[in-house]
Amino acid sequence: MLPRSLPGLLPRRLFSVSARMASNTPLEDVMRDKIVHAFTPSRLEIRNDSHLHAHHAAMEGSTSKETHFHVTIVSDSFESKMQPARHRMVYALFKEEMAREGGLHALQLKTKTPAEEQREKERKEKA
């Protein structure tokens, strides 16, 4: 947490505006926007794993730093849907990004409902 009230610190609003203008993570930003808009998740984690895969044969000639992502989405939108259906909902959001040459190459997904996440947590606590 930034101690926002302290004098002498760069105001947070200014900082975030400048960061958005020259984002180093344009694809991740788009992904976050789309997911938040589509699923209003109670939890969203986007992890960029691209550096782990940069040596892959499939990545030869690619200069993008945003090719492999691991995304965890907890949302009510997944209620009463099987996992493949949930993943398809997410894939549908990124159809263009995944089809594009040099775009999104791999998207690892964890898609849960808040109830499932709660049960998982309770199981872990018991174990």
């Binding site: 159809k95 995944m98 791999a106 998207l107 690892q108 997904l109 964890k110």
Partner: protein, 157 residues
Amino acid sequence: MFSRAVASAFRPVSRPTFLRPVRSAIQFPSGPSIPSVLHARLLSNETRTAIDKAVSSAPVVLFMKGTPETPQCGFSRATIQILGLQGVDPKKFVAFNVLEDAELRSGVKEYSEWPTIPQLYLEKEFIGGCDILMSMHQNGELAKLLETKGVLVAADE
């Protein structure tokens, strides 16, 4: 050139010995070649039929990058390892290497409405990709499912 490339894609990289190669069963008409860019967006009836056959060539069918012995992608490798850990009977398992042909690689994505490889089919039903298999492996659902379908190596063997 085109038809040969397509046919080779549907040669299983791992198949039970009692199964004939599906390659001979799948013959594509060698019509005028269509620019591959069109093919990437259009799943032809021929390709659909060929993938239909591939999917029904064994109870457990995996579309992967590389071969079970030498996977060319970490997610395909992980999936093979999961199937191995679960004890899937090799005689009931066939893997297709999508890297052998662009037609299969793009075709199977459209066929399954699934944009990534690997893809697992169990008795012609799409189960999921690596993440889904991994979580089903961890929560015990996969063991139950494979057991029910009778595709595991018998315990007393």
